[in-house]
Symmetry: C2
Subunit: 543 residues, 2 copies
């Protein structure tokens, strides 16, 4: 549903298919393979990552099958020496050959923890690699990014995703809307996302809208119904606005001829079209000299008709300063007119906001109530890709690991279980990876936790609670765990982030959350590692 | 076709629909509007941008219509006060109400030049804004990025896009494959992109493939047909490889027990599966001690069977050093064995390459023949969004411009024509924007070119050639210019980039290509600008 037919078996790298052929030719296609999907570094130099994309993965696997036209195309691009029988084999591949375990969507996760484990015949599992990575990488990245905005803004500020026009492709935009919602945003401007995912959709008007009005003569309608009145009784919003403008201009220290009449007309038209939702973009010309006075006059007139305006949006300039100035004007009128609600009007800020500028706004002091965030959120400007990888960890029951000259690229061998160990205060202390058949760590018992690469770094943890993080979602064609509704994934994600210790939570990686391995897993790994005579320290082959 | 049903009228920001309602309510929906789409800064701090996405835009507009379910959804999210009649209006909106002019897809373009001009009824033109921006922004960004890799690599090095797994959503991946091809890449690893767009698809094998072989006993097949022989005669590639390995190991100064037997088996299996396309990933264990000797042994055995191997891929480590070392080994064997072709084998490099690392490889000296490029290419890591905007420039025949306190956000008013002025050597000198009804600049005549904002900066240019850059593609429902085939857009784009002067072309913006306006356009703009009494210098309202 999310990806409307693009997510299909051919959305893959060609080498998956050429390798599948080689496996098939050497009768290895059915070897029992276990692959794990994980990443090596938290994005954005942050302390954690959110796992997302699982629902899409399960949907992809459950529909996995090559169509006749897929097979014909693949045949056309492979060498003619490829045996015909291989294409019969390909067309017999289905998602019911694999088993998928995963951590729940929306979980806080950490480097080297297997997010997804895919088990099944070697060729089949491999043929799913690229698509699964595509589905998890961006989803997790943008969800993580959204949670960072949420943490920075605080839990009480509505956040809206406005990124569609700057997203990487139409589907990048759709995915962003969905996953930013999971990450704690309150809504999106993207109508199709609203329709497909039942996410709240918001929007007001643009600068171009304001510019399209020259003056009050543009208004062929001037009246609104009273909010509570009968159908027949109408209020003249244009006259009411003009009257209020004359009254408040001196209070706001603005000369009436400073007002841009086109802006005033635009605001009146918006208020007449949406009397219950009046929110005006006030920075097309001059926020303080025209935008705010026009907005306040319309707002006061609407009030006479029984409607409460929502507020303003600022989309340029010094947002901290302009929001404070706007709030001052609201407060000033609230006092002078004895209408306290005026001081509480919403101020929405947009214009290229990222986590850093939001932090800086917080430091400067601002009066912003809600944010609209676009480019930096959806493109993840600070780091536009998450580096999830998909590695073979077991083949026909034998543990495997990638041995390489770059230690950072070593993978942890063997099919694993993931446990999260919690402290007394309910926050997670560390994750522990064990071999699949080890007995689980026990509450209130010492658990030996080993650094995966440094033998000296091991310690005992006594967890107050233990949670097994990965469980089966799909066993050979059978869905065995329901995918929660979007809003439930969103709530789970928010709880996950909020339960993190502050020093693990936020936006630097000074105090890294630890992912340990059990001693048994450590031994398995080091047997493979040390046993490999070609291993050298990184760079040693330069000498 | 590219976006498989995602690109539809609801792929927009809600405010476009709320504004359309306000326009409709005030009877402004049919005002004759002209919007122009442009950007303000070249991406990547570069000297130019490539315009792309036009075919998608025309396809979108030609199919523009709200379905019943779209209308029902919109109704469900707007306030109940919205008049029913508006939804009838919406359902009557079609792409045949607008006219679209554009510069050709694949053109080199510059800041403030209108890339797309959309004319039609105000509400209709507005309802297309977000989708058009989405279609142009990422397409142009990633095409531009691809051309920068092409310029850095030089015209003779094949470049392959390997970015699917790191792309921003599945459709981000598909778009990237398509537009990187336009930008000068030779192919992609993305099979679906190959199928949909007829782009060459490439791929070999992964580290996991190598790791899945433990030794030569894994090989249940050992023979290949001779390249030129009859069906019955087979060559024992396993034995041949072993024989060659024994012979070349001392030449390469490698002890035979340094060879990883699983790697050798993997390479033999790849060669048996694809004898005509043998290209091996040689860095799973140790490039020089195992990868290269294994590859060379298989290559020499294949040669006996009449096949010419392609080469190797390096995916980690110091690519400059490893490529030089690999080339040395090839050359050494070429001399010792008197097989000169060995020294010419292809070396493909991948592993997180960006323009900077490619430049650095060029400086260090390398022996790389081709590149596979992923993350940095498709996500445009250096700058992941292009800031195209869509601005009202004329309404009912009256020029409009956005007046704002931020001078950088000023837009150029009026419906325009775009001319490119060329010098004697065939390179473009500058672009000139004129009002639509001005007579065009003439060859070999002085043309007055004005800086849009600085009155003192104007000069005469005598062009040797003048090209009108924008022309109509779609006039009220009729396609009036054929969209070229992908490969023709690609060729046009390459010519565009290559015709640029070197100082305008490459990767810094020290010597900026100039975009001028005619005096008439300058006057129109400054009448609007100066006439606006609220204009102040940026920041002046802080005092």
């Amino acid at each position: 549903m999310v990806h409307q037919g693009i997510v299909q078996p051919l959305l893959t790298d060609l080498y998956q298919i050429t390798m599948a052929y080689a496996y098939w030719k050497f009768n290895k296609q059915s070897q029992a393979a276990v692959f794990e999907l994980f990443f090596r570094n938290n994005p954005f130099k942050g302390g954690y990552t959110i796992f997302a994309g699982l629902s899409d993965c399960i949907e992809f696997v459950s529909n996995f099958a090559y169509s006749k036209s897929d097979i014909d195309y693949v045949k056309s691009i492979l060498p003619s020496s490829v045996e015909e029988e291989f294409f019969h084999f390909l067309s017999g591949i289905h998602g019911d050959q694999v088993t998928i375990a995963a951590v729940p969507e929306g979980s806080v996760v950490f480097p080297r923890v297997p997010l997804l484990r895919v088990e099944g015949p070697l060729a089949t599992v491999l043929l799913m690699e690229t698509t699964l990575l595509t589905l998890v990488n961006y989803a997790s990245l943008v969800t993580t990014n959204a949670t960072r905005f949420r943490l920075t803004a605080g839990n009480d500020k509505p956040l809206f995703e406005f990124g569609l026009r700057r997203a990487q492709g139409p589907n990048g935009g759709l995915s962003a809307s969905r996953y930013c919602y999971i990450g704690g945003f309150n809504g999106t401007s993207n109508v199709l996302a609203g329709k497909l995912f039942s996410i709240p959709v918001v929007g007001t008007h643009s600068h171009a809208f304001v510019m399209s009005f020259s003056g009050l003569t543009d208004l062929c309608k001037t009246h609104v119904q009273y909010a509570t009145g009968s159908d027949s009784k109408l209020f003249d919003l244009k006259c009411g606005t003009q009257k209020w403008l004359t009254q408040i201009s001196p209070m706001l220290d603005v000369a009436e001829d400073e007002i841009i009449e086109g802006e005033l007309a635009a605001f009146i038209s918006i208020a007449i079209a949406f009397p219950t939702n009046f929110l005006a973009l006030v920075d097309t010309y001059d926020v303080i000299r025209s935008g705010i006075p026009c907005f306040c006059a319309v707002t006061l007139a609407l009030d006479e008709a029984g409607y409460r305006a929502k507020g303003i949006r600022l989309d340029s300039g010094d947002l901290a300063y302009l929001s404070r100035q706007s709030r001052c004007q609201f407060q000033l009128l609230a006092e002078r007119l004895n209408k306290p609600w005026l001081s509480l009007l919403t101020i929405v800020a947009s214009n290229d906001i990222n986590v850093r500028t939001m932090n800086s706004l917080n430091q400067q002091g601002h009066q912003i109530n809600a944010y609209g965030i676009g480019t930096h959120l959806v493109t993840c400007q600070e780091q536009p890709a998450l580096g999830c990888v998909y590695k073979l960890v077991e083949l026909d029951g034998v543990a495997k690991m990638k041995l390489t000259q770059e230690r950072s690229k070593l993978s942890l061998p063997a099919k694993k279980k993931v446990y999260r160990l919690f402290g007394e205060n309910g926050s997670p202390l560390a994750d522990l990876l064990q071999k699949y058949d080890e007995s689980p760590p026990l509450v209130d018992q010492q658990v030996l936790c080993c650094h995966p690469f440094q033998e000296s770094e091991r310690k005992y943890i006594v967890p107050s609670r233990v949670e097994e993080m990965n469980c089966n979602y799909w066993i050979k064609g059978k869905s065995c765990k329901e995918i929660p509704k979007l809003v439930d994934i969103r709530n789970y994600c928010q709880n996950q982030v909020n339960s993190l210790r502050r020093d693990h939570q936020l936006l630097s990686n000074l105090n890294t959350y630890k992912v340990f391995v059990s001693d048994a897993l450590y031994q398995t790994m080091h047997k493979l590692w040390v046993g490999d005579t070609t291993m050298r320290e990184p760079g040693s082959y330069h000498e």
